[in-house]
Symmetry: C2
Subunit: 213 residues, 2 copies
């Protein structure tokens, strides 16, 4: 009867969603150690004790933020990979697009997760374990798909193409404005422009790695 009433209950409550969003923003701004539970609770407009009630420790709250966001990114990536015809001429371009587009997010939107994503490459123990758990499975799929597309590609070369391409993505989204500053631009690069440049670079690098094997 009531149109505003959702047919199914949300998997998480609105409050928990608010906390996770606030936590994501705070962790992105200050890093794990720099972030404060108090600051997160203020940002989420709840009491600090509620954070511990729902998540136990700061460590688990952080892990939950990573888990939620990585799931969205991995789902997007896998969906894009599913659509690719691996025998088509532009297969390599579209594989890298599947790698780059989800973390870049919507065209005009903010990227609060970008700094956390970038920070994951810095191998502190906490992040290493989370990367291994949440990102390695999809990473392995990328490596496998790359192997089938690049001629005579062994696993080592494919894994390198993946890793180095990911590094260049970090360089683009991890810091604010440095690339534009070195380029001599005043306006920030648009998402589609970033995507085009990253794909071209990754593809060129991949082909170079293959031909010198």
């Amino acid at each position: 009867m009531n149109a505003a009433k959702p047919a199914v209950a949300p998997v998480v409550s609105q409050t928990i969603e608010d906390i996770l969003l606030a936590a994501e923003a705070e962790f992105a701004e200050r890093g794990f150690e720099g972030a404060g539970m108090k600051a997160i609770s203020v940002k989420a407009a709840v009491s600090q004790a509620l954070l511990h009630y729902h998540f136990g420790t700061k460590e688990r709250l952080y892990a939950e933020v990573i888990a939620q966001r990585s799931k969205k990114i991995n789902d997007e990536r896998n969906a894009l990979l599913d659509q690719i015809d691996l025998t088509a001429a532009d297969a390599l371009d579209r594989i890298f697009e599947a790698l780059f587009r989800p973390p870049l997010g919507p065209a005009g939107g903010e990227r609060p997760y970008a700094r956390i994503f970038s920070g994951l490459v810095v191998g502190r123990e906490r992040n290493q374990a989370l990367v291994k758990e949440h990102y390695d499975p999809t990473a392995k799929r990328f490596v496998a798909v790359l192997r089938r597309v690049i001629p005579a590609g062994d696993q080592g070369t494919a894994a390198l193409c993946y890793s180095l391409a990911l590094g260049s993505l970090i360089a683009m989204i991890g810091r604010d404005g440095r690339v534009e500053r070195l380029m001599g631009r005043d306006a920030p690069l648009k998402t589609e422009e970033i995507l085009r440049l990253l794909i071209a670079h990754a593809k060129g690098g991949a082909l170079a790695l293959i031909s010198q094997t």
Copy 2:
């Protein structure tokens, strides 16, 4: 007479050197916020108060660590750039070698600075200012040199080649073991091997960016 006695006084005392080394290791392990002045003082085998006597604040100690290490890296990079014949066929390879080799350090050595170096790409305000101060000048020289070597290279393209290459370097040294894990290797990659692969990838990516401009 005494052979062990240095001819000139060191610019910094041994104690200060010890503190800076301990601080570098601690900052690398835990990040700026995670690092503790107490832990640094223990690692350097001095009192915590001595850290404040010499450096004032944690912030200034961190800045000094970055300044010292970046100076070494920039000096090495500039020396390598000076030796390059920009008209030679392998000029592009040698430019990227000048970019990659200094942060990679000696062949068999540890890389305690690698994680700090990687962390600098994550654009928190503190790091942004330090990068701009200590790394931008040499970065601009790389961009200028790249422009002269790559055919029809505008500043934007050259800056992209620089930035994306740097990102792939981060991917290789920032995390421990992930690249090797995805490659299916058990032994870590040797420095010279890393260098060869990074150069090949960066060169291929650069040429691809140019040809599609």
